[in-house]
């Protein structure tokens, strides 16, 4: 099911969903960045804003139109909604010498993610594979995931650090959404909408709309084609798996370690990084123990700590772990790459380390050798 929507129809989307008592999470402007937050009206979207991104830099600027989605991805990702930064897995109570594990009641409220970019849809699919697709599933993630409803938005204006085209995850979403919008700002400002699921179609049917003609679909395709063109291919994924595994001791890792802060920003900003820690927190009486799961990162020393010390003491090994995991060993572990080309790790690295450049540097010496 397809349709053409006027910008005002976005308000209807929010309306319909809120009337169903769903939470609507969407991009909004806060703290000088575009972040996700619950909205009550489509007017809270970042109307007429764009982002200017560079390695380690991000700035919001005004656009000369009223685009609702005229920016790329910001500091946050939908990971915050699905693999929450910190949750209590369970509480274990001591009862007359015994142990009683108690789980919190499941949250059942549905949540619409409004404005999910193609790379983010891809990232959610990757986390699905990791967190619920194996032999064991993360219960909290599954619950949140089941309650989610994805309204995707195709990309017309990639930021400087975007490379989804290289990773095959954008700028046009292929599947994994309930509803997808393509924003067209040239001429009359409008959206081309397409349902991806029955639920998406149900929502679309409730919106004020015009039928979509072939020309509209072509126009939408032009938007994403232009975006793809603009990005070009900056990371060759075809050979990257073997390239990195063949160069585990590459001197480039010493070079990057001199710049890398091991601050964890890249991993925690990344929409696919899934590592977590489980810690215990006793209550005051000493009779109950909360087992808390929170975001962790392979860039910390404690991450790899065994009795007797860390496995990856040097920043160099931590960076190598991350880079090879993203682009190489993730594939061995989960049959997919761990990077969707969203560029967050580049933008939100406080010293602007660029994953594409690091790969290119390793590739350059490899090619020189052969």
């Amino acid at each position: 099911m397809r349709a053409v929507l006027a910008p005002e129809a976005l308000e209807a989307i929010v309306d319909v969903l809120r009337r169903r008592d769903w939470r609507v999470i969407a991009p909004t402007v806060r703290d000088k960045a575009i972040v996700y937050g619950e909205i009550a009206s489509a007017t809270e979207l970042p109307v007429g804003w764009k982002d200017v991104q560079g390695p380690g830099s991000y700035k919001l600027e005004r656009r000369d139109d009223e685009a609702r989605f005229g920016y790329a991805v910001g500091p946050q990702s939908w990971k915050r909604e699905l693999l929450a930064p910190s949750v209590r897995l369970l509480q274990i109570k001591r009862t007359n010498g015994g142990l009683e594990p108690v789980k919190d009641a499941a949250e059942t409220k549905r949540t619409a993610f409004f404005g999910v970019r193609p790379c983010e849809v891809a990232a959610i699919k990757i986390q699905d594979r990791v967190l619920i697709g194996g032999k064991y599933a993360d219960e909290d993630y599954l619950q949140r995931r089941e309650n989610s409803f994805v309204i995707a938005v195709n990309c017309g204006e990639p930021a400087a650090n975007c490379f989804c085209a290289s990773m095959g995850t954008g700028p046009k979403v292929e599947d994994g959404y309930d509803l997808v919008l393509t924003e067209i700002t040239g001429g009359t400002h409008h959206f081309v909408a397409e349902a991806g699921t029955d639920e998406g179609a149900e929502l679309l049917a409730e919106l004020p709309q015009q039928p979509a003609a072939d020309a509209d679909l072509t126009a939408a395709q032009t938007v994403t084609d232009a975006a793809r063109e603009k990005m070009g291919i900056t990371l060759d994924r075809s050979d990257v798996h073997d390239l990195l595994l063949a160069n585990l001791e590459h001197p480039r890792y010493d070079d990057v370690a001199s710049r890398c802060l091991a601050c964890t920003n890249c991993t925690l900003a990344c929409p696919t990084c899934f590592c977590t820690a489980v810690d215990d927190a006793n209550d005051l009486s000493g009779e109950a123990d909360d087992r808390l799961r929170s975001w962790d990162s392979c860039f910390t020393l404690q991450y790899s700590e065994m009795h007797g010390g860390g496995t990856r003491k040097e920043t160099k090994s931590r960076y190598r772990q991350w880079l090879t995991h993203k682009l190489s060993t993730w594939h061995d572990q989960f049959d997919t790459l761990g990077c969707v080309g969203c560029g967050r790790c580049i933008t939100w690295c406080p010293v602007g380390i660029d994953i594409r450049e690091e790969v290119a540097a390793i590739r350059a010496t490899q090619e020189a050798k052969s």
Partner: protein, 254 residues
């Protein structure tokens, strides 16, 4: 009867021990499970040592303090150093770059009454410390967790990673990327990343994280327009005497 706890003050502002009294929700619960043996800020009562746990606030700045910490070590099961003063020498360690004795003798008729050492040093320079809680002041959450961990025989949850981890978990857009220099990437987590959440760069009050790459961060600050003076001061404030910060400040003069 729970374990005995003694709270000791050395050269400090009292803020870290006040943190214990500031645990309003937890204080009575904790007091129900331990015996306060010595805590003059809160009580006149005293229980003689040895003590199971000593919380030590403040740095060592006088000969008396240098002796006292040894005695406390001998009489305590566990010694936990709390705060930047106790773990790094604190703000008063700025004296370590000045000549205290010389000045005191030119100004005071009886400098011997001052009884102050040339340096302000952390307890780990004097004794073996079992656990350090960094921070100026320490975090309430970490303090309560450490006490409960001791009671449970658990390892305290003291992450040695960067403030950035907390920034990201609380979803604060990185202020450094937005243009405000931030010490978060080289500073140990624990505060909850307060400063960036108030649109200000971290100023390092929790001291260095493990393997801090201060050189790279300082280089970035320079690119962002920070002067050498600014860099020197940034690394030489509340935890300036901790080796990683001390070495970095030295790279920027002084």
């Amino acid at each position: 009867m729970g374990p005995t706890i003694a709270v000791w003050k050395f050269s400090s502002c009292d803020g870290c021990q006040l943190t214990l009294l500031d645990c309003e929700d937890e204080l009575l619960g904790i007091l129900g499970r331990v015996q306060i043996a010595y805590f003059p800020e809160a009580t006149r009562a005293e229980i003689e040592g040895p003590w199971d746990l000593s919380l030590v606030e403040g740095s060592v700045t006088t000969p008396e303090e240098a002796e006292r910490i040894k005695e406390i070590r001998e009489k305590s099961g566990l010694v936990v150093a709390i705060g930047a003063c106790a773990t790094a020498g604190g703000i008063q360690a700025l004296r370590n770059w000045a000549n205290v004795k010389e000045y005191a003798s030119t100004v005071y008729a009886h400098p011997e009454y001052l009884e102050t050492l040339e340096t302000s040093t952390p307890h780990s320079d004097h004794i073996a410390v079992d656990l350090e809680l960094q921070g100026c002041p320490i975090s309430k959450v970490q303090l309560v967790d450490a006490l409960l961990a001791v009671l449970a025989g658990r390892r305290p949850n003291v992450p040695t990673s960067a403030v950035c981890t907390e920034c990201k978990r609380r979803q604060t857009p990185c202020v450094q990327v937005l243009g405000t220099p931030c010490l978060g990437p080289v500073t140990q987590a624990g505060c909850g990343a307060i400063c960036p959440s108030f649109a200000r760069g971290c100023y390092g009050c929790f001291g260095p994280k493990e393997s801090p790459n201060t050189v790279s961060l300082a280089k970035r600050w320079s690119e962002m327009g920070a002067s050498e003076d600014q860099l020197l001061r940034a690394f030489r404030t509340f935890n300036g005497y901790k080796p990683a910060f001390r070495e970095e400040s030295a790279r920027h003069g002084g």
